[in-house]
Assembly symmetry: C2
Homo-oligomer: 421 residues x 2
């Protein structure tokens, strides 16, 4: 393996790309002394159960301008799935592409700490299981019960109260939790991938307003600012990306409301139970039907149908699965097969073409850089084709939503060339 360049993988949504993302790419390269950063980016719909603010093509361009060397697409069934499935897909894809490092942001937790927590969750000792069960019976939410069970296990393992307090803190932060999922996937799939944890700068993930005295804002805060037509997000986005961001038109979540309603009406007419779709329980299905159209906007509708024990994102994702047509059966099929059976390239930096040569040499799965070739390349793998076409369908729907919003056409995903900058 002479002349191999050092490659790091990052899993991201870039919804939209901001200073924190550029910092992470830069810092990951420095820490690992890496040559290239390969991004696995969510396709047209995100883990919050929403259309991405900009289409994949635009977000890919932003990522490349912001420091990424190549961008691959995570298809909708995984980009709109739980953190566990999202992470599992990512770890598997990087493994198949022969990428030895994964870098992710944390709220201060080290890779070693996350790996330790992941090992506890993977092993599920009798102590852990007992406490988890008890706490759930006592009415804790799943994350609360999981935390309590982990702490009980740590006590049994002889960790000091200071150490346990530290882990309790770690478990409070969404980026850490996603980090744990990466590490769990590494353990579950026996992946040799090496983690590079990068402490997140600035605002927390949950902040929805822009900060006053720093360069880093959360993607949520930036999205809000964009939707409110303020331009005050400018300092929080790399200069190279700014003009692109200003000319792109954002897609609001609310645009899903009517199309999802038509879809549900049609499914009811066709006698297709909503519970066929991934993440839609019988209870949620009942509530969707009972509360359909109640609420003055999509957010209120979701709040109305949300069972107490579910998160808002979980319900949003469930509705999105109905809209995109992702069934429980489909997800089972995707997960039973090779998790990432192909890699769809969306863009790369011209100056990083060495990287592509190296990836093509190392990859154990087909790299698809032209959608029209997919039928041929994946002809022996119907599940892989189905997975790919689920994202193609998602892109078509994204385009239809965009048209509903702006009466303007986005290019068809088949006519969209590779993004090369």
């Amino acid at each position: 393996m002479e002349n191999q360049k050092k490659v790091i993988g990052i899993i991201a949504e870039y919804n939209p790309f901001h200073n924190g993302h550029a910092y992470q790419i830069q810092r990951a390269k420095e820490m690992a002394d890496a040559d290239f950063v390969v991004v696995l980016m969510s396709g047209h719909f995100t883990q919050r159960g929403e259309p991405a603010i900009f289409n994949s093509h635009t977000r890919t361009k932003m990522a490349l301008l912001g420091g990424a060397d190549a961008v691959f697409e995570m298809p909708a069934p995984f980009s709109c799935a739980s953190a566990e499935d999202f992470a599992s897909y990512g770890i598997n894809l990087f493994g198949s592409l022969g990428i030895p490092y994964i870098s992710f942001g944390t709220e201060g937790a080290s890779a070693k700490e996350l790996l330790y927590l992941a090992s506890l969750l993977k092993n599920e000792s009798p102590t852990y299981q007992l406490h988890l069960k008890e706490l759930l019976l006592l009415g804790s939410s799943f994350p609360q019960a999981r935390e309590g069970a982990l702490l009980a296990q740590m006590k049994e393992d002889g960790l000091s109260s200071d150490e346990r307090f530290r882990y309790k803190e770690i478990l409070q932060s969404p980026n850490n939790i996603l980090g744990i999922e990466y590490m769990k996937a590494k353990l579950n799939y026996r992946s040799p991938i090496l983690p590079i944890a990068i402490p997140r700068m600035g605002s927390s993930y949950h902040d929805t307003s822009l900060p006053k005295f720093q360069d880093f804002a959360s993607a949520s805060a930036i999205r809000n600012s964009i939707f409110q037509h303020h331009n005050d997000y400018s300092p929080f986005v790399p200069h190279s990306v700014l003009s692109l961001l200003k000319e792109a038109k954002p897609l609001p979540r609310d645009i899903l409301c009517d199309p999802i309603f038509y879809r549900i009406l049609m499914l009811q007419y066709d006698d297709t139970p909503l519970s066929h779709f991934f993440d839609v329980s019988h209870e949620l299905s009942r509530r969707i039907i009972n509360y359909i159209r109640q609420g003055s906007n999509y957010e209120e509708f979701i709040t109305n149908i949300k069972p107490k024990q579910y998160t808002f994102s979980r319900v949003s994702r469930a509705l999105l699965h109905i809209f995109l047509g992702i069934t429980k059966k489909d997800m089972l099929e995707y997960k039973e097969g090779k998790l990432a059976p192909y890699a769809r390239l969306i863009g790369f930096k011209k100056e990083s073409s060495d990287l592509l040569t190296q990836l093509k040499k190392n990859s154990s799965i087909p790299i698809i850089s032209k959608l029209a070739d997919a039928n041929h390349i994946l002809s022996t793998s119907p599940t892989a084709l189905k997975l790919l076409f689920c994202e193609v369908h998602a892109a078509h729907l994204y385009r239809a939503l965009y048209y509903s919003c702006y009466s303007e056409e986005l290019p068809n995903i088949y006519q969209q060339p590779l993004v090369i900058i």
Copy 2:
């Protein structure tokens, strides 16, 4: 049958109700010396393949204010079908309700003339068939070829050139042609129903602008005037109906564009061929997919996909069948069973309650006046229930379209009481 009151049936869309309709009701009662007029009105979607300008409830109220005594609903599979199926459903419904007269507007043709033409079309003599085939082979459209074949048959039957010229004129007008379909259905189903033809007043069916010196305008012209927010349609609408018409919000055809596009995307993803739907030929299916979203509005899209030999309405109806989920298989099922297996009452005049008593006594099919009872009443007839629920589904979709248009809710069809004035 003592004390029987004389009842006339009228089949209509009332899209919207205007002076011509009020005149027809009045004149029909006079001509037949009838006590009551029963209307069979299209549900939420019309024969032009569009949502009705107002929902059934509102149009029913207009019809009652304009002179009708009771209004029954024609369900979507027939209200959005060809003139032949539309007429067959109507003749069958009136037959089952025990209504002995049907009145319809003509462009001057007498019932006897229409019945003669209908008998020629029903019999399809060898002469007729030969000429029809030849003319079609020579490139005539179906209506042209049919006219030629009819004229050839008349010549053989010894009709003078004057008489043939008269029939040729009759065949040019849409109301006459619909009248022929009523008479064809009468013959096909051996219905004893007696026709009362009423010469249409004022503008022709095709006129899209309001006339200057008369009280009668076409429904198309009135719709155009409403959509353009002119109030110049006022003189052409009965005074009793006017305030209702002014406060109701009209639904434009264009509102179908996005929802139909989502529906087609989803069907493609689900591998459901568009040609499963009623009136969608393989050629049309191919053109829909090739031209999807091409055109600056719905009308342009339809013009783009329209095969040469199809009419605009035929293509609009085909798209509507896709949207409403009306398949070829469904239509076959509806047509193989009893054509009108129930009668859904939407409204009546309080002072005409005798009429309802008489209808209930004479009717050979269940009369449904409360939707919630349908499951029980039609429990032994799954096809009848399916037909009814197709209109219920159409009403739900109409409501969703209305919401898309106005961000306001129409009442749910289940919460809509009978219209009683």
